[in-house]
């Protein structure tokens, strides 16, 4: 069984949770006290991941400590049609890899600004926000071009792990004082990701609250509990 060393407020750990939820891959979560406990910098955790970063995905003997690598593995193993990781199409695959690399600039800018604003991590926050806006402009331009071709996601005409890699720190950026008001194409893309079957939220990312089809089930659950 997959084991995810997890932190509930980590956008990077959320990438793994979101991917597993969408792919329907069962896993065991191991919560790590990242804050305030700094458990990721303690010897027990460093034995597992000397880099001291979260998330970590463990599958048998395989230990993955990078979120892009985790997404690659999950999609490669748990998506039989192979659309989330288009390994058979070199051009598509290369574009996916390119956006995975781009996602690191989101973590370093929007993600860092969020940690600063949320748990007071030391940072030149204005520089981080400016960097986030530069990255958002790049993303906005690409998503605008994609929309002209009728595509809602980053690569070609399907959602891929690139979308999962880029989604969290863009969606969470208001937590770090970076609004989405300037970016209509990004807003449309965020909604498209939220509409993916199996989508789950994390704190700071709100559900679309579309009318539920399952309301009778909820009532039944209440009756049992009562």
């Amino acid at each position: 069984m997959l084991k995810l060393y997890d932190y509930v407020l980590s956008g990077s750990a959320y990438k793994a949770r979101l991917m597993m939820a969408i792919l329907g891959a069962p896993y065991e979560a191991v919560p790590v006290d990242f804050y305030p406990g700094n458990e990721h910098r303690q010897p027990d955790f460093l034995d597992l991941n000397p880099a001291g970063t979260l998330p970590v995905l463990v599958d048998g003997d395989l230990v993955l400590t990078d979120s892009a690598a985790i997404l690659t593995y999950l999609a490669g193993k748990h998506d039989p049609p192979g659309t989330w990781l288009p390994a058979g199409d070199p051009a598509r695959l290369a574009q996916v890899v390119q956006w995975l690399a781009f996602s690191q600039s989101l973590t370093a800018t929007a993600g860092a600004a969020r940690l600063h604003d949320m748990i007071n991590r030391p940072l030149d926050v204005e520089a981080a926000r400016a960097g986030a806006h530069r990255a958002f402009r790049e993303l906005e331009r690409h998503l605008t071009a994609q929309a002209f071709d009728g595509n809602a996601f980053l690569v070609a005409d399907q959602p891929t792990i690139a979308d999962i890699a880029c989604f969290p720190y863009v969606a969470l950026s208001p937590d770090g004082g970076i609004a989405h008001d300037d970016y209509p194409a990004i807003r449309g893309w965020l909604d498209a990701v939220k509409r993916l079957p199996g989508f789950i939220e994390m704190p700071g990312i709100h559900a679309l609250h579309e009318v539920r089809e399952t309301e009778p089930g909820v009532v039944a659950m209440a009756a049992e509990a009562g």
């Binding site: 906005e140 002209f148 300037d182 209509p184 807003r187 609250h209």
Partner: protein, 252 residues
């Protein structure tokens, strides 16, 4: 402030969509019912002050994200989930501002008086993009802009001209390949002294029936707008005002 301000491409706010706009000092929520009607209100739930732009649409109602209070298109509170059997007093309302769709744009007005300063022409949406310059500077640039930046646009005199369609709307007529092309650009002042450029295109009346411009044309126009923004935001990079020649030189 009685002016109507363009805040989005009409196409950019889908049925059931909710967005935020700031006009002057006023924070607004702009939203569309699932049936398509556009509304602009004060961006504040009268219950606990939550920005309604975080809310969600159910049918012809906007619900606040915080407690789910639902407001009808007339802004009257219709439903308070904490009290499902209560008929909310009609005095619970959001503050309503003017909202219109015209010329492919969504316009709002704090006073609601008059009409947007733009003819209701049929145009196709391209995109909106924020520009870090003052609205007046963006308008001035648009009034002097042409399309030499892509090889398919015919540069040179006589192939383009400008027409003010309103106080904040400029039409630029040019040629795309062999076809006439009219670009329509509307400028929205943003609260921090910047501007939003809303870009639309009309392929011209002679093209006959069509389903809208090709993706390739939209992409050229989008790239053109990116380039316009670059020159406006990097004035030190240009020796004089932005001219087609200069663009060609810098691109080389």
């Amino acid at each position: 402030m009685s002016k109507w301000v363009p805040v989005a491409l009409a196409d950019g706010l889908k049925p059931g969509g909710v967005m935020r706009a700031v006009v002057g000092d006023q924070d607004l929520v702009v939203w569309r019912t699932t049936a398509g009607a556009v509304n602009a209100w004060n961006n504040r739930c009268p219950h606990r002050g939550m920005r309604l732009s975080f809310g969600f649409v159910r049918g012809d109602r906007l619900a606040c994200l915080y407690h789910g209070w639902q407001f009808g298109a007339d802004s009257v509170c219709r439903y308070i989930p904490a009290h499902p059997d209560l008929e909310p007093p009609a005095t619970i309302t959001a503050t309503v501002y003017g909202a219109r769709e015209r010329g492919g744009l969504i316009w709002v007005s704090l006073s609601g008086e008059g009409e947007p300063d733009m003819p209701d022409i049929a145009v196709h949406p391209v995109r909106s993009l924020a520009v870090d310059v003052a609205p007046g500077d963006l308008l001035a640039a648009l009034r002097g802009a042409c399309f030499p930046v892509s090889e398919t646009w015919q540069a040179g005199s006589g192939t383009f001209s400008h027409e003010d369609l309103g106080e904040a709307v400029v039409a630029i007529d040019g040629v795309d390949g062999d076809a006439r092309c009219r670009l329509v650009a509307a400028v929205q002042p943003l609260p921090d002294g910047r501007a939003m450029l809303h870009l639309l295109v009309d392929e011209g009346p002679d093209d006959g029936p069509h389903d809208g411009p090709a993706a390739a044309l939209k992409l050229r126009l989008s790239d053109w707008a990116e380039r316009l923004r670059w020159f406006l935001e990097n004035p030190q990079a240009t020796s004089a005002s932005w001219t087609p020649v200069l663009v060609e030189e810098r691109a080389a």
